[in-house]
């Protein structure tokens, strides 16, 4: 009985004819760039004779690690990043014989939103820092543990509700960007802290980037849809997530004004909205001409129909670069100019 079933199953092992050599592009990296990268990959697969690239969501750091590990078909060809490549990563790439070609594709705004059933908030970066940092300066410039429990204690103009902010966990690139742009942005508005940056950089970073852990900031996981649902259920809470989720759920949540600027498409694109970061992808120059379709994929990404102001990536929530930067980057990308760190 048993032997017979084995004979029956054996042929199944041999179906499949494709060889081990890779004939489709392999993309890894940031989960923030994932929706844009997949959209381009899909369009590229359908409009050309090349196979649809495989896009993995590994996070910016994880993607860099795989990307810089070396060359050859077992390593990815492209990595997405929701921040610029770090010096240490560029060094590792160089050591392993990988030449990255840098491509900046646009911006992503990080919004602080609450439920439509609560009043729209108007925050400043300083207030965000005072509400969410672990340690803050008091009136005498002493560093004390964050004493604020209610928004109104920070500023009487804010509502008298408990500080409760749902946001991404430390593994997320969104959290890094939020700490860097929002918390540090508010932090350095204190003059004595700004001077501290020059004297004691480590202490400055620890003060400005550390999020409080006493329950006011709630780590809600990487799933932004979940944060939106929780905000709907709890009108007194605020949530931190990417702009595209605000756009898709505008009937449920509203974005708070930051430094008097609304989180709107035009404001983020023009750079007025303070919490916006750049998105990148990096191409392995060594694989161009080895893995089929890479130059064509790059030119698909840099078409006006793709990343321009009316392109399909805008429908997916990308905030495009301005026209001058687009043409500048497009030239750099399509000439495969290697990365220059400065």
């Amino acid at each position: 009985m048993f032997t017979r079933s084995i004979y029956f199953l054996l042929p199944l092992l041999f179906f499949g004819t494709s060889s081990l050599a890779r004939d489709q592009i392999n993309i890894v990296g940031s989960s923030t760039v994932f929706p844009f990268s997949t959209a381009v990959a899909e369009r590229f697969g359908k409009s050309t004779d090349f196979k649809t690239p495989v896009v993995e969501s590994t996070g910016s750091g994880g993607g860099m690690k795989l990307f810089c590990a070396g060359t050859g078909a077992s390593t990815p060809d492209v990595t997405n990043a929701s921040r610029r490549i770090k010096k240490s990563e560029a060094d590792k790439c160089a050591k392993n014989g990988v030449t990255p070609v840098e491509a900046k594709i646009g911006f992503d705004g990080i919004v602080i939103a609450n439920s439509r059933s609560a009043p729209n908030l108007e925050l400043t970066l300083k207030q965000i820092f005072l509400a969410l940092a672990k340690n803050i300066p008091d009136a005498n410039e002493n560093i004390i543990p964050n004493p604020f429990l209610n928004w109104s204690e920070i500023d009487p103009s804010l509502p008298d509700v408990r500080i409760e902010v749902l946001g991404p966990p430390p593994t997320s690139g969104t959290r890094d960007a939020f700490a860097e742009l929002a918390l540090e942005g508010g932090c350095k508005e204190f003059d004595f802290i700004k001077t501290m940056k020059k004297t004691d950089k480590a202490a400055y970073k620890a003060l400005c980037h550390t999020v409080r852990e006493d329950g006011a900031y709630i780590e809600a996981g990487e799933n932004d849809n979940l944060i939106v649902q929780k905000l709907e259920a709890n009108p007194s809470a605020l949530g931190v997530f990417g702009y595209s989720f605000l756009e898709q759920n505008s009937d449920l949540v509203q974005g708070s004004l930051v430094n008097g600027v609304e989180p709107e498409f035009e404001e983020i694109a023009s750079g007025n909205y303070p919490i916006a970061r750049s998105l990148y992808f990096y191409v392995k120059k060594e694989h161009i001409g080895v893995i089929p379709g890479i130059p064509e994929f790059m030119s698909e990404f840099t078409k006006e129909d793709t990343w321009g102001e009316d392109g399909y990536l805008v429908d997916k929530g990308l905030i495009p670069l301005d026209e001058a930067s687009r043409s500048q980057w497009s030239e750099k990308i399509n000439n495969f100019e290697p990365l220059e760190m400065n």
């Binding site: 009985m1 048993f2 081990l20 595209s244």
Partner: protein, 422 residues
Amino acid sequence: MNNTINFSKSTSFNLPKRGQSEFRFQIIGIGAILLSLAFLIWLIITVIFGSMGAFKHVEIAIQVDLTSKNVNADDVNSTSFGSIMKSGLREQFPDVKKRKDKKKLYKLISVESSLELKEKVLDNKDLLGQKVKIWVSASDDVSLYVRGKIDASLPEDQRKITDKEISWINNLGANGQIRTKVNWGFFKNGDSREPEIAGILAALVGSTLSLLVCFILSFPIGVSAAIFLEQFAPRNRLSDIIEVNINNLAAVPSIVFGLLGLSIFLGYFDLPRSSPLVGGMVLSLMTLPTIIIASRASLQAVPPSIKEAALALGATPVQAVFHHVFPVALPGMMTGTIVGMARALGDTAPLLMIGMVAFIVDIPKSILEPATALPVQVFLWADSPERAFNEKTSAAIIVLLIFLIVMNLSAVLLRRKLEQRF
């Protein structure tokens, strides 16, 4: 209290108290079952209600001009079907003049509609040379609105669809140019970034292939290991160590097996990343301990008299085990295998490391082509910003549950067939 039982007096049996504790236990038991049932029903009802929309497909009919002015009958591939669709839309709404409004108008139909039109033309060349009404997919927002998932009474800036778009949709609806039908595409397509055409097939095939590889590897290896350990291996310190290690392996978090797969199968053997072959191998590492433990238990449950009788009649130990013990234990082994495979079906953590948590459009044709798995598809859709992916997520969960039920059911049937009674 008097602990001795006086048989002449029935009250000293303490009957009421014993009856009460019996009753309490039963209430607690029934309560526990009811509670878990309630949660299960709640889960299933939410998922089913949430998924309804994913099985419906909204289409819009558009008058397109396929005369020789637009299409060259000898070279259909070079035709710009996108602009044919667009001019069809403009003819229907001639008063839309502004560029921005035109863009909105084009967004009523799916970005994939030009490909749909092309396929229809290639399928049926008779369409060429005439003006015909063609049904194409509506965009995800239109589809949500038509199915009543967007509240039009909200202020315009709080919804994804503007008043103008609503008036166009109502106009089309009044002309009978909008229809809703069963979304077969959901079962026929691979993943897509456009919710209206995203389908489950690539993930379903990926899961099936991975589980097949997993079964082919883990069942024979696991069962042979169990038979050897249980029936032939000498009982000594070494076999004790092996037993403890197998039991420990069954409790190792699955991501660890993913890391193992990454360094050995991908790093050392250089097998293709994201392929169901590697996925199945990693999953079989994960299910092996479960299969071995279950198989050993079912071998132990075989009455020793069967083996002894065979040996007494002159069978060799191998004959005794394979002819007499193994067939009796097989149903129990199948159960263990299915339990292990069911866990493997629902796991994403080990697949993350070997690159199967990925966006894959093409349906895998072999175990070496990139593929993803059902739970990964659920995860990716749950993470997408587009509202229409919410219902896709629920629908994917249903497909996953049905897959699981079919698997368990076939195991039960197989066991019934193989079961031997004494």
